[in-house]
């Protein structure tokens, strides 16, 4: 084996080993990344659940306080019942006025009243999805079916609300439904972001406006909307989607309605922790390759180089050059070879001429 061939084969072997090493490392890194993202996602969800639990508990308390107030229920029921009189319509002015007053007193963002058939009667702001049949709204359907207070995240006219619907009962009969809601505003997103190691962005489905309109245009949340997602294929859970800027991101929908915008957490694995894993791997790979190269160099010097010398010696001896001497190799295979060669060479070497 020539030195060149030995080097070529060695380099090929090292390359294959390096490839296998980095493939394994990459595979391990992807597992690590996935675990990191799952962990972050779990943290985001846990934090969101906790925040929403606090808020919904507070909302339900205030909504119940109002809905279970007999005078309030009777007032609303009476105002609705007035439409039963010939020529009379529902007294929405009275309901609206009272709702505005109660909204301020209870520090709620939205109060409204629906009749038992799910028709919007009055409110401190309109329910924009009126045309889309409130009767089919999951929140209303749930409240109607259970006759108890229910709550969920409700998207309406560019705003997210944590909304509760409670029955207004008079003399044991459900006369109407009260909608009470608090807005999931910048403060909520800030609180969510603060405890969640992920970026929160608004995922727009096709046909939605670029600006969410949810937060002030100069807010940090709105300014972070650059990578607005435009896709119809948002994952139901933790999944990867293409961002508007062409990057791929791991996103996890936090809340949102079908057909509307969805608030998602874009989960980037913490850069520091990945670097902390990659740097030792690269160092380890460099050390392994260096040791491998050293081992090959020693192998060449101690084995192949000496075999080449021995072969050269034998070839020249075979051609009749008996003056050759074995190298000063002592011990081991090399020493035994040198000793044996010297013995053979001594027998073959012609005697020195007589003086």
């Amino acid at each position: 084996m020539t030195f060149t061939r030995f080097c070529t084969l060695s380099a090929a072997g090292i390359a294959v080993l390096a490839l296998a090493f980095f493939a394994t490392a990459g595979w391990q890194l992807s597992i690590y990344d996935r675990a990191q993202r799952d962990s972050v996602y779990a943290q985001v969800r846990a934090h969101q659940d906790q925040l929403q639990a606090w808020r919904s508990s507070d909302l339900r308390l205030r909504a119940k306080l109002l809905a279970e107030n007999a005078a309030f229920s009777a007032y609303v029921a009476d105002a609705i019942a007035s439409s039963g009189l010939p020529g009379a319509s529902v007294d929405t002015a009275s309901i609206n006025d009272l709702l505005s007053e109660r909204r301020e007193q209870l520090e709620l963002d939205w109060l409204g009243v629906l009749d038992v058939s799910g028709t919007w009667i009055a409110g401190t702001r309109p329910w924009s999805s009126v045309d889309a049949a409130i009767a089919n709204n999951p929140l209303y359907v749930s409240a109607h079916a259970s006759s108890e207070i229910v709550h969920r995240v409700q998207y309406d006219a560019g705003r997210w609300f944590l909304a509760a619907i409670a029955p207004l009962i008079r003399a044991g009969v459900t006369e109407a439904y009260l909608l009470a809601a608090i807005e999931l505003d910048q403060a909520f997103i800030d609180a969510l972001s603060a405890g969640a190691p992920a970026r929160l962005v608004l995922a727009m489905r096709s046909g939605e406006s670029e600006s969410s309109g949810i937060f002030p245009a100069d807010s940090s949340f709105e300014s972070n909307l650059a990578p607005v997602l435009r896709t119809d294929a948002l994952p139901a859970g933790n999944g990867r989607v293409l961002l508007a800027d062409g990057r791929e991101a791991q996103v996890s929908p936090l809340f949102g309605d079908e057909g509307g915008p969805v608030l998602v957490a874009v989960i980037d694995p913490p850069a520091g922790s990945r670097q902390a894993l990659v740097r030792p791997l690269i160092g380890l790979a460099a050390i392994v390759l260096a040791v491998l190269a050293l081992a090959l160099w020693v192998l060449w010097r101690r084995v192949f180089a000496r075999i080449a010398i021995a072969c050269d010696l034998l070839e020249r001896t075979a051609q009749g050059d008996y003056r050759l001497r074995a190298p000063n190799w002592y011990g081991g295979f090399n020493g035994r070879f040198a000793f044996a060669f010297e013995a053979i060479s001594a027998r073959l070497r012609p005697p020195p001429p007589d003086r």
């Binding site: 005078a71 007032y75 009476d78 105002a79 007294d91 002015a93 009275s94 007053e101």
Partner: protein
């Protein structure tokens, strides 16, 4: 006391021998701009108070005063409810949904009562001779009572009453 407070002061006289039965009358307290107008009213016992609603929204008129409780229900703009008051005493009237609405009725078992004028003066005429109590009352002040002994003639007497409204807060 400012002019608004003075306008709410009622001065009445209770003869020790008992007052003649006052003549019942009709009074009006209008619900307007989510308030009762007037918010303080002195009426003789047996009188009837009408509650017309001038607001574009529904109101309720009720009282939870023990012995004089009533609930006139909800009624809208242009509608009127009325209530007769047969027992003397202090009666608080509210709307059960608009919590800032409150009226105070002083139902008196004497025909001798009046309000202060803008300058804080009052005149009670035709008081019966003999002993009695003169009371100055304000809904947010401790009543001031003065014992009087009136001569039999139509003599005029001058009595000053000092009513102190408690200070609220600092």
């Amino acid at each position: 006391m400012d002019a608004r407070d003075r306008a709410e002061v009622v001065v009445y006289y209770l003869p020790d021998a008992g007052a003649t039965r006052p003549q019942p009358k009709r009074f009006t307290i209008t619900t307007r701009s989510k308030g009762f107008d007037p918010s303080v009213l002195a009426i003789p016992v047996g009188s009837t108070v009408e509650f017309p609603n001038d607001d574009p929204i529904r109101h309720n008129v009720y009282s939870a005063t023990p012995g004089a409780a009533f609930d006139l229900g909800f009624f809208g703009e242009g509608e009127t409810r009325e209530q007769r008051f047969d027992r003397a005493g202090l009666i608080t009237v509210n709307c059960n949904v608009h919590h800032l609405m409150q009226a105070t009725l002083l139902v008196l078992d004497t025909p001798h009562f009046t309000r202060l004028d803008a300058a804080g003066n009052y005149i009670l005429k035709g008081l019966p001779p003999g002993r009695g109590k003169l009371v100055a009352w304000h809904p947010r002040a401790t009543p001031v009572t003065a014992a009087l002994s009136l001569p039999g003639s139509n003599a005029a007497i001058d009595r000053e009453l000092v009513l102190i409204k408690p200070r609220v807060g600092r």
